[in-house]
Symmetry: C2
Amino acid sequence: MVNFTPGPSQLYFTVQDHVKKAFRDDIPSLSHRSKRFESIFAETAEGLRNLLNIPSDYFIVFTGSASEIWERSIQNLVEKSSFHLVNGAISKRFFEIAQQLNKRADKSEVPAGQSFEGILIPPDSELIALTHNETSTGVSLSMPFINSVRDENPESLVVVDAVSSLPYPDFDYSKVDSVFFSVQKGFGLPAGLGVWMVNERCLAKSEQLLMKGLSIGSFHSLPTLHSHALKKQTPETPNVLGIYLLGKVVSDFLRKGSHTIRKETEYKAAILYQALEKHSIIKPFVTNKNDRSKTVIVAECGDMTENLSAYLQGRGYFPGDGYGEFKKRHLRFANFPAHSKEQFEGLVDVLTTFQ
Amino acid sequence: MVNFTPGPSQLYFTVQDHVKKAFRDDIPSLSHRSKRFESIFAETAEGLRNLLNIPSDYFIVFTGSASEIWERSIQNLVEKSSFHLVNGAISKRFFEIAQQLNKRADKSEVPAGQSFEGILIPPDSELIALTHNETSTGVSLSMPFINSVRDENPESLVVVDAVSSLPYPDFDYSKVDSVFFSVQKGFGLPAGLGVWMVNERCLAKSEQLLMKGLSIGSFHSLPTLHSHALKKQTPETPNVLGIYLLGKVVSDFLRKGSHTIRKETEYKAAILYQALEKHSIIKPFVTNKNDRSKTVIVAECGDMTENLSAYLQGRGYFPGDGYGEFKKRHLRFANFPAHSKEQFEGLVDVLTTFQ
């Protein structure tokens, strides 16, 4: 059985062995104030830095979820107003969180399945929220587009939700200020951990808000997260096992190499999109090829959605349902490092036989 | 080897088998929007309700940590002012979090090792924060004291931090409004999950603040947590494996029975305190017997702290260090369901031979 739901998705094949070793080594009962924890924190953070090529003016901290990072980003980086590029349910949620935190949140919204061009961003936007991969529809922002946002808005902080795309995208971290993800998607791990990569501009902004007397939260404010990260610690008792497992899977990814991971991701995406293009009944939901996500591939299946899903499941391939309003029309296929080339080739073969 | 650190502490002896079964059943990659997740949520919440005897006007929700529940409590339950009973580093942290969230936080503070009497609480305190078990010093509040707080302050919400005491204490939930814990202490589980039990008064208060236009947070506001809990879901992708494991350990506790767990806890505490009382070199840190915690037992070891710790570790008994300023003077011993009677008897024997 192969699980193609876009998160929580299939576990990376090494995870269960890492869990066994963790129990042998007493990791699940380890004190988060011990030297051993500090070395786990360091191994995970440095592994991520190498894998994703994160520059030295960034630091890496952990939260309970990526949803928490949406909230902490607004809380720590926005005094008055944020701007959101919205093209689906996930990017919209980031926008709504800014509203719930009583900020002036503006947005540029395009229909589901589309990306953006010629966006006018108000110059007083303190934070610009980009969702690299809109998990609900399978639209991905291009690197030139992301980089152009910074070039045109040098004063704003550019925050990138990369929840369902990392470790695939090769961001130019000098063109953005904050990138985050959660571990249950591309890293193939059990859910319960968010990972936040933040640069010094973000830290300075949060300190500035604090100096003005605004509340930027408590145990998970950026200055508190940062001061603990310097000691290779976390403010609270964290998901120690989750941080350990992430470090181990990152090591596995590093052994494989990010170049290989990217090439395989592109190969798997290419054969699936090709199969969808050629298919007589179903087709890719995203029509513009440049906007198509490599990591969450969405098929428009119309009335055949339920039949196709049952057909695939009967052959051991479990697709993800369409998101929200698209539940009865779409099927979604995660393309993460946990999904092998052979599994994608098998999926494509089975899809092709569905007529 | 027995781990007596007060958290993360020794794992409950069934945890590793539950993890194995979880992997066999694909729990770590389960979608949090699936029916199977809903039944896990329900099993865990209903198990806790039975184990702890939680009445029907309470609901149970999950967060990333107990530190998060400190913050969410202040955010959702306080417009202007909270009042904190402070007798150590843990209760003080709750007080500081209220300050960081820009509330007027008042406190009544007594020296480490002591409890409270004759406290005058300002009548406009919206929330009264009690730390049932001050983990840093081993002082526990008595049930009559906790209940008297409500009787004398019927308008305030009484919030009880029971992080390092549950499942031992038998609270009268009608005398308080909110109780919370995290799973890595008394429940003997890997860290990364906070559990928040809240009554309808709390929910009403948070809705009132929202109506007034205050921000009560976003994805983890009480109304949002509550509306998802009604559907047996969580707002974000949660620590699914953690919620599953908690449900399984709660089932184990239910089979054993809360009466038996309480009696064993009392027996183990009694023999350790007796050994400390009789000892020629070390003694209980908390002098008033009524204030002594049953679940975190703190020994005043003075200059012998380091020697004793090494002596115990050499025999397979790993005590917790003293907290903060007491690091070089105290040793702490967790007394959780994961610690067997035999392990405590062994610890007492070894302690007694240290001269």
